[in-house]
């Protein structure tokens, strides 16, 4: 189990890769973000953005899954109070293979709960053409070694 102590400033974590299908994009959009450029490749809206594109919230959710699979599920993760910024820089399209890194900017212990660490991470997702599609920075709460034992 990884704990707060395993996330020093400067640490970089490979997020592996995730392939996005047209069906994934449409299913997410139908449930959460029913705009034509997320639903229908032949729509006028999609034509304006070069074809079907994924909801930005879908891309965020994919980042979450990549974080879970690459490190969070083996980390004493205690959730997140929030994020400073999400930037949707480039569309995510059907067939894109997303990859990227999570990097520790800085970390500190919670003032009210000293067995809880606040790890400030910045996440970068790129597509197969090495184009950055999204950056996210925010806090992950991770228990210290003592917090896990007690």
């Amino acid at each position: 189990m990884l704990t707060y102590e395993d996330f020093p400033a400067g640490k970089s974590i490979d997020l592996g890769h995730y392939t996005v299908s047209a069906q994934d994009i449409i299913e997410f959009a139908e449930e959460f973000d029913p705009q034509d450029f997320h639903l229908d490749a032949n729509s006028k809206q999609a034509a304006g953005v070069g074809g079907l594109i994924a909801s930005g919230w879908h891309t965020c959710s994919i980042l979450m899954r990549m974080m879970c699979d690459s490190f969070l599920l083996e980390t004493a993760s205690q959730g997140s109070p929030g994020l400073d910024e999400i930037r949707w820089l480039h569309p995510v399209r059907p067939g894109d293979v997303l990859m990227g890194t999570s990097e520790v900017l800085n970390s500190r212990l919670s003032r009210s709960k000293p067995t809880l660490g606040l790890v400030h991470l910045t996440h970068t997702l790129k597509n197969q053409d090495d184009t950055v599609v999204m950056t996210v920075s925010g806090i992950n709460m991770i228990s210290t070694r003592d917090g896990v034992v007690s």
């Binding site: 449930e31 450029f37 594109i53 899954r65 879970c68 959730g79 997140s80 109070p81 929030g82 569309p91």
Partner: protein, 159 residues
């Protein structure tokens, strides 16, 4: 010029009511299995022993449900608050979000009520024919506790 006619009616502090959603256990678990399979989003027993103290929705699930409510309710709410009755204004993709906060968990069974407030508007100098609107959005549970807050941006076609 329908976009411009709409734009001119926009005033900061206009508030959109985006409706409510009750988070049921099956949808919380379904979202978590797909995107955020941490124990406190998947397993009631393990969630009880986590910092959260009970099974709760992924923050991304909460934000995505806000988006759904925004899509369903915002168009008629913009008309209500502005009195604009013309052609549907065309909104483009958002460049991003700032200050996204999940100040309290969304537990299974919670009913979250969403709203958005216009915080700013300006003509986009870098993209002719478009304006940028900034919007503060939030969600509160049935006890009035805030569970979601964020500063978002929307692009609006003017011509």
């Amino acid at each position: 010029m329908s976009g411009m006619a709409f734009y001119e009616r926009l005033q900061t502090d206009m508030r959109l009511e985006l409706g409510s959603h009750t988070f049921h256990e099956d949808e919380v678990i379904r979202f978590a299995r797909k995107f955020d399979p941490q124990p406190f989003h998947l397993d009631a027993e393990r969630a009880r022993n986590s910092l959260f103290g009970g099974l709760c929705a992924s923050g991304w699930h909460t934000a995505s449900v806000w988006m759904k409510h925004n899509m369903v309710h915002a168009p008629k709410e913009w008309r209500r608050v502005t009195g604009y009755e013309g052609e549907e204004p065309e909104l483009g993709p958002s460049p991003g979000i700032r200050n996204l906060r999940w100040p309290a968990p969304v537990f299974v069974g919670d009913t979250i009520t969403f709203s958005s407030t216009l915080t700013g508007k300006r003509i986009n100098q870098r993209r002719a024919g478009w304006a940028l609107l900034t919007v503060y959005s939030c969600g509160h549970n049935q006890d009035g506790t805030q569970v979601l807050a964020m500063d978002g941006a929307v692009t609006l076609r003017l011509d």
